[in-house]
């Protein structure tokens, strides 16, 4: 039986009662029949109304999420990109500054060590030579032999002091250059907050759409590389250090 045929059966009795009330001018029966018809329609009407209200609520919610996403996409993502670029340039700058200072200090330390080594050789040679010298003439020759050692020492000490002083200053600057960690850490944290907001908005949106979110794995193209392994994030078997790598390669005959 079609749904209209059912409706016809349900309503025809009411319509007949209504017609009968009109014909007999029975006011009480008339309103009773009208009430009956209204009650018959109400359940469907209320379901429709509820559905409509629900749809409207969802649309409003969706609108609010979408405007939030639009704001994130238009303003906050470019901001985050700029902030992360700043992190790269800050770490780059700090690393180069540190390398500059290390490269400047290395030769100074090397010079000090080399000159000190030469002086030790000179002093040892002088000692070996002077032990065989005796008498007044021997003392005089010993003093003469010591003159170049004394001169070399005299030349070395101020240079050694200046070089050590510069190395010490450079080390203090290396220390200061590490200040980038604090600043970049703060910037990265603010970007992490944005990522969390974005994640929440996208999750809400997918809940409203009723879509099943499939977690796509990133960077499956192994030829391009995955970047450094991150504990707790990177999946698969990971070499924990050079010893692991060496063991694996020696297993392969390398």
């Amino acid at each position: 039986m079609s749904s209209f045929a059912i409706l016809k059966l349900e309503y025809s009795a009411c319509v007949e009662a209504l017609a009968e009330a009109l014909r007999t001018e029975d006011e009480k029966a008339f309103f009773a029949a009208v009430d009956h018809i209204v009650h018959m329609r109400e359940p469907g009407m209320f379901t429709e109304l509820r559905k409509l209200t629900g749809d409207l609520q969802k649309a409003l919610e969706r609108f609010s999420i979408e405007s939030k996403l639009a704001d994130i996409a238009e303003n906050e993502i470019p901001d985050a990109r700029a902030r992360l670029n700043h992190v790269i340039s800050m770490t780059d700058e700090a690393a180069h500054r540190t390398l500059d200072l290390v490269e400047q200090s290395g030769p100074l330390a090397e010079r000090t060590a080399k000159t000190a080594g030469n002086l030790i050789d000179m002093i040892n040679a002088y000692r070996a030579q002077s032990t065989n010298l005796q008498g007044f003439e021997g003392v005089a020759r010993s003093i003469d032999a010591y003159v170049p050692v004394a001169r070399a020492l005299e030349a070395f000490l101020p240079t050694a002091r200046a070089d050590s002083e510069l190395i010490r200053r450079n080390l203090a600057d290396v220390l200061l250059a590490q200040g980038y960690q604090d600043l970049t850490g703060q910037i990265i944290r603010s970007v992490m907050k944005l990522v969390q907001e974005l994640e929440a908005a996208l999750t809400d949106l997918s809940r409203l759409s009723g879509d099943v979110v499939e977690h796509a794995s990133m960077g499956e193209n192994s030829s391009a590389g995955h970047g450094p392994a991150v504990p707790g994030v990177t999946k698969g078997e990971i070499a924990t250090g050079q010893t692991d790598v060496d063991a694996l390669l020696s297993g392969l005959g390398m």
């Binding site: 390398l99 192994s222 590389g225 390669l249 392969l252």
Partner: protein
Amino acid sequence: MSKDLKFLVVDDFSTMRRIIKNLLIDLGYPNVEEADDGKTALPMLQTGNFDFLITDWNMPGMPGLDLIKAVRADGKLAKMPVLMLTAEAKREQIIEAAQAGVNGYVIKPFTAETLKEKLDKILGPGK
């Protein structure tokens, strides 16, 4: 002999290139040139001016693994010693690199001793 070896260091980060270059100089290899990815490195290698390649894996443009494959496929470069110096630490990647023909694989962060050990192993005694 070792002093004359010409190295090409390929890494997209200039700081890492500088660190490797400094270590190579300390180890007695003063002839070091740099490239920032495989695309820049390959034509440099093809000039025939290099004896040793040290490359990172994860780089924009041409990644290190593709560079190694290109080097091994090039008749003139096929036998060049190649050391991969990278943060890529997945077992399957290390195996992939070995299959592509690397002579050594060092993972970052690394030490000067590890670099020296691998270079000595690849170059053999007396080099």
